[in-house]
């Protein structure tokens, strides 16, 4: 942990902090001790990624910078709600950014997402064993995505990163909506079969 935090202070080496366990530990320290050094590590890692996603989703430069600040502020404020046994820090920060996007850009409400997350926190599956299990799940998801054929990966990226709806994706790629849906299902199916191999 100590060495990881030191790494974070050297901008050129920040990218080495991609060990999920290091990010998890940093989140836990932010939650338990409002540890600013740990938060700086998270900030160095996630701020440029969150901002990139916001830009790709159509925000202007200054709006993306402001929104990134809001997202990272929420990461700090909601640190205690992050449950390490439930998934990767990456996925959690992604959902914080997604919810900010829903609230600010779409003028809808991310409240239902928060409610589901609250139920998730409270359900009984959390344990040390599951912690291992979840880490392995996150790895399998990465593996499955790395192996996706380009036509499926592209659709996932447009949906998750560029914030395009299924119908916008269909239009952009000049495909029938049904094809977009079936490629999404195929991509999801591959991930699912990888995950079932761990069970």
């Amino acid at each position: 942990m100590r060495s990881a935090l030191n790494l974070a202070q050297n901008d050129e080496e920040v990218d080495r902090v991609d060990d999920p366990a290091v990010l998890k530990q940093a989140m836990v320290r932010v939650a338990q001790a409002q540890d600013r050094e740990a938060f700086q590590l998270l900030f160095s890692y996630f701020a440029p990624r969150v901002k990139a996603v916001l830009l790709k989703a159509g925000s202007q430069e200054s709006q993306a910078e402001d929104l990134m600040q809001d997202v990272m502020m929420t990461v700090w404020r909601k640190a205690k709600l992050y449950a390490p046994e439930r998934g990767s820090v990456n996925a959690w920060v992604f959902t914080v950014a997604r919810n900010a996007r829903i609230d600010l850009l779409r003028r809808a409400s991310s409240r239902p997402y928060d409610d589901v997350y609250e139920i998730e926190l409270e359900s009984d599956v959390a344990s040390g064993e599951d912690n291992m299990f979840e880490t392995e799940r996150a790895e399998r998801v990465s593996e499955a995505l790395a192996e996706l054929p380009e036509d499926q990966r592209q659709i996932i990226e447009l949906g998750f990163i560029e914030d395009m709806s299924q119908s916008e994706i269909a239009k952009k790629l000049d495909l029938p909506l049904g094809t977009v849906k079936s490629r999404m299902r195929l991509a999801y199916g591959k991930m699912k079969s990888k995950l079932e191999a761990v069970r």
Partner: protein, 220 residues
């Protein structure tokens, strides 16, 4: 809870990526509140988002971005939110947590409007104009749900009672996640009324006109 009918995988990905509008998000969230396996699946789908974000080409942030954040924290905007999971526990509620914000804690308290013999409806206003609509239906035992061609996707979550159609029996927690191509005519099982939460895509004007022509008597 014994759930047999789950969300379409494309729907789970749309939920995780934030692509669903308010009405569909609510039906999905209410199902997730009731279904452990779909909740796990949604979490896996959110891992996809985490993975994609992790590999995106990073955008430089302003050089004082972190100092700015620390200044906000020092200015007292840093209050951390505590974990409070007590609301969900409320033992006497028969309404899934996300839906409680809209209709309260009890299905008994919902105010119904009779729209056809044996068919009661409660409209839930939310989202922007032109988005999908969200409503609840309360249909008497043995009644067929009126044919409701709507020209778009539809998602129905059973909250109590059950209905049967060509896809099988749908009971509490089951969700019928159907695209516009599926036609079905559910009939409520004998014994108790079926209460469900429904999101339907708003038809285009042209389709809406056709729907009006086709169902002059019962519009639901």
């Amino acid at each position: 809870m014994n759930i047999h009918h789950h969300l379409d995988e494309a729907t789970l990905l749309r939920y995780a990526s934030g692509d669903l509008d308010s009405a569909f998000t609510m039906v999905v969230a209410a199902h997730l509140a009731m279904c452990d396996s779909c909740r796990q699946a949604a979490r896996d789908a959110e891992e996809i988002g985490g993975h994609m974000m992790d590999r995106v080409a990073q955008a430089p942030v302003s050089s004082n971005a972190f100092e700015k954040m620390m200044a906000r924290i020092d200015a007292g905007q840093d209050e951390q939110i505590e974990v409070d999971v007590s609301r969900h526990k409320k033992a006497d509620s028969d309404v899934p947590l996300p839906l409680r914000n809209l209709i309260g804690d009890h299905l008994d308290d919902v105010r119904w409007r009779l729209v056809a013999p044996g068919v009661r409806k409660h409209e839930i206003k939310m989202g922007k104009k032109g988005e999908s609509s969200l409503y609840m239906l309360n249909i008497s035992p043995g009644m067929a749900m009126p044919e409701h061609g709507h020209g778009g996707a539809e998602m129905t979550l059973i909250l109590s009672g059950a209905y049967r159609d060509k896809l099988g029996v749908f009971g509490p927690g089951d969700v019928a996640d159907l695209d516009e191509h599926i036609e079905h005519q559910p009939v409520v099982e004998p014994g108790e009324a079926c209460i469900c939460l429904v999101a339907t895509e708003t038809p285009t004007r042209f389709k809406d006109f056709i729907v009006r022509l086709m169902q002059p008597f019962v519009r639901i």
